[in-house]
């Protein structure tokens, strides 16, 4: 069945030519010397005022990176990246931590205003207090320019600050967890990130605390010829809960820019982390010129019993997406969830999916992925579900649907399902008719057609999670959710 008109119209609205965030901000910037060398790393480390151990950590990563080769298994093709032809650090000049927002370059503040990201707490607080307040860490190229609601969060014992600051202020905490989920040697891009990461967020939720508000980081690439390498580390201690959001945009340029981030999540006993992303990097123009190369390693470790990690992603941007948010289900009874909507248009290439690695007993996971390809784009779902020998009673349900608009694009599904335990039950389906016979029957009995019923059930599924996104992100996400499942394949 071909896609319905409504869907086609909606996808057109987010077409590459309609990119709204492509403006540039003119501020005086300070950069590291071009290229990658030990000097560059020393420069970054000095800029951030890091202790010696951190510098050593970076050097180790750099040495290892030099021996590694770029992976080529993903279904994406791009010109070779010259790692010595870009800047690894760019920050607004005279920017060693301003004390308040008033010291921040007004040009930068205007940028965030234009992007619709509230950096001023009072603006949010002045009117009727909104239901979902959001604390924001704004990262501009290589530097975190502002973090809001820090004081209020501190009252609850929550640590929310740029990671460079955390390395200075909470070295023990950072040292204990950094690199334990995504080891330095994990993969080419993660190793590169370990050597040159500049900023990102650090979150620590103490035991038993439910984080009083949503936390978010907004990443903006502005400077030309610059790569962004941020690192995020979130630790939810026993019995705590946090919801974290991430947004990203970049100016329109003819050149390709590299973004190689690492995100590590750690959930201890009974903790829950919700990590949501609205990725809207500049996708390049309709001819495939320019755009961000997005090579991201995201992984969550359900280290404690009954812990939960949920990844939600809405991917509409980037020329190339290479991203597999994963869950290591180590603790008994832990749960991993992955909800993804990836829309590709123009000449975009998306190779994304998840890994659910069941190590503990009674672990469960759920993967819902919807890929929509239009234009001349390629959209690949690549996912792994595996149960190790001891993962007794592991349970997984995977559903990935793809939708093609036009016949110049491609949709691909590459699932890997590996089971080493007889009691593990894995189901992978791409047929829309097999969700739950009971639910379908219930809906159909009330007069819905099979397709309406299916759409209702699947949308209900995804909506449930997306509703937790804050308003400014939710609009785009909602628009995508309303896309019907009609005509979907595999």
């Amino acid at each position: 069945m071909p896609a319905v008109q409504e869907t086609i119209d909606q996808v057109r609205l987010i077409d590459v030519d309609q990119y709204k965030y492509g403006f540039e901000t003119d501020v005086e910037m300070e950069k590291a010397p071009k290229g990658l060398s030990e000097d560059t790393i020393r420069f970054i480390s000095a800029k951030k005022g890091e202790p010696e151990w951190m510098l050593q950590w970076r050097f180790d990563a750099y040495k290892r990176w030099l021996t590694m080769t770029e992976p080529n298994w993903a279904r994406v093709s791009y010109d070779k990246i010259d790692y010595n032809d870009m800047y690894y650090y760019a920050g607004p000049k005279n920017f060693p931590s301003p004390k308040s927002l008033d010291e921040v370059d007004p040009e930068i503040l205007r940028t965030y205003e234009k992007l619709g990201i509230p950096l001023r707490e009072q603006e949010v607080l002045a009117g009727v207090e909104p239901k979902n307040r959001v604390a924001v860490d704004a990262v501009f190229d290589s530097v975190s320019v502002a973090t809001t609601f820090k004081a209020e969060l501190a009252k609850a014992g929550v640590i929310f600050m740029p990671i460079s600051e955390a390395i200075r202020e909470y070295p023990d905490l950072v040292r204990q967890y950094l690199g334990t989920v995504v080891p330095v040697s994990d993969n080419f891009f993660a190793t590169l990130n370990s050597a040159v990461f500049t900023d990102g967020s650090f979150v620590y939720i103490p035991p038993g605390v439910r984080c009083p508000m949503e936390l978010s980081t907004y990443f903006r690439i502005n400077e030309k010829n610059t790569g962004q390498f941020e690192r995020t580390l979130i630790i939810a201690d026993k019995g705590s809960y946090v919801s974290y959001l991430e947004g990203c945009t970049a100016p329109m340029r003819d050149e390709n820019q590299l973004h190689a981030a690492v995100v590590e999540l750690i959930a201890l006993d009974d903790a829950e982390i919700k990590y949501s992303t609205v990725q809207n990097w500049y996708p390049g123009d309709s001819e495939g010129r320019g755009g961000i190369y997005n090579f991201v390693t995201k992984r969550g470790d359900c280290r404690g019993k009954n812990s939960i990690i949920t990844w939600t992603q809405v991917e509409t941007g980037s020329a190339i997406t290479w991203k597999y948010p994963s869950c290591i289900l180590r603790g008994d009874g832990s749960r991993g969830e992955f909800y993804s909507i990836a829309v590709s248009n123009g000449m975009q290439q998306v190779d994304s999916g998840t890994k659910m690695i069941h190590l503990g007993r009674n672990t469960t996971s759920r993967v819902i992925s919807k890929g929509i390809a239009a234009g001349r784009s390629d959209n690949t779902y690549r996912g792994l579900v595996s149960a190790h020998r001891k993962a007794t009673n592991a349970r997984n349900f995977t559903n990935c649907d793809s939708l093609l608009i036009g016949n110049r694009c491609g949709a691909h599904t590459v699932p890997y399902i590996e089971s080493k335990n007889a009691s593990a039950v894995f189901e992978h389906e791409a047929t829309t008719s097999k969700i739950s016979e009971d639910q379908l029957f219930y809906c159909q009995q009330r007069g819905l057609s099979a397709e309406e019923a299916t759409a209702l059930i699947v949308n209900g599924f995804v909506k449930d999670v997306l509703q937790h996104l804050p308003m400014e992100f939710a609009v785009e996400a909602q628009k995508l959710i309303s896309i019907s499942l009609e005509g979907s394949v595999g």
């Binding site: 093609l404 890997y416 089971s419 007889a422 894995f426």
Partner: protein, 437 residues
Amino acid sequence: MAQVTLMRTPTETALVQAFDAAKAYLPGDVESRAQAFETFNRNGLPHRRVEEFKYTDLRKLMHDVAPFAVKPSSTTAAAALSAARAFVGVEALQVPFVDGHFVSDGIAFDQLPEGVEIVPLAEALASGHDWLAHLSPVPWAKDNPVYQLNSSFMADGVMIKVTGAVATPIHLRFVTASTAAVATATRVLVLVDDGASVTILETHESPHGAAHQPNDVIELVAGDNTNVQHVRLNGEGDEALALSTLAVKIGADAFLNSINVVAGSAVSRHQVFAMFNGENSKAQINGVTMITGRQHADSTLMVEHAVPHCESRELFKTVIDGEATGVFQGKIIVPSHAQKTDGRMMSAALLLSDGGTMYNKPELEIFADDVQCAHGATCGQLDDELLFYLMARGLPRKEAESLLVQAFLGQAIEFVENESARDSLIASVEGWLKARA
């Protein structure tokens, strides 16, 4: 950046030597063989870093190269054939092979059923027969290292032409007589003319206790309006490393129904390369695997819908006991012009023990927007409730399990249209289950 160069394994070196020695006596054009071998040798044996062999690392699994089998004497051949048991009750035209060589004794070439012509491959290769032009009907199979090895070493086989509706099935009986480990490479080409229909049965047997290395290729070129039924049984000995390929090109308005049943071998890999070449055709490709102990069985499948309006159905069932490993890799490819394609691929696995492993990789590669493609994969153990139901009615646990496994595998076997072949397959499932209990 440091470049990693892979060391040649002793097996790879032995293959080079074996090919150099074999060149002298293998029939036909040396040039094309050398070409195939060179392509193979460039990359060597596939290993886990090669995506298509991710789960079947031949570099690790193939420890050595068994000597290539020589043509057996006619008494040896006759004895081996009379001892072979697979599909004996099935009425068919027998086309026997012993130790990888076609046994023509007892075949009256001038009294074949109407519409069937058979040409021994070794002779055809030596004399340069016209039909040889039809070899390798699926171009991309040539990129496959297992296929390349067969193209390099193929020593014998047959070419069969079917020109009408042939009611008698043609039974290709591959029997290994040698009790010492031998390697064989056979190739069978079946040309099915427009409007013709045929049933091809294929059985493979070898003695236990010897690490035989058969590498068999069967190629089908099905014309328009054809109906081809293909049933393959792997009943190789318990130490065999069996590699096999089915390459098939399907014309318009045609129907292909193929099943591969794995009931033997220490290591097996069956690959299917299917290509639709005419519209409104249908293919049903099934697989049944029963493994235990430390067996390793791989079913790899690639279906290319090169033309619009075709339908493919794939159903693979795997039962794993002991510490065995099952692999299913399937890929449906739909290019942008192949609109109205309908493809459905399903792989279901049952793990009967805690030591078993199942790897499932059902892939879709779709470029057309008006198609219906779906795949499913499941993996789990027997349903407790069903077991309870049966046990509550007085069946011992093992028997209840057997019944459920039979039903599970039966769903794939019931597609076999030839009744006595189907019964034989069911009997082999029962035999496997009995050995288990």
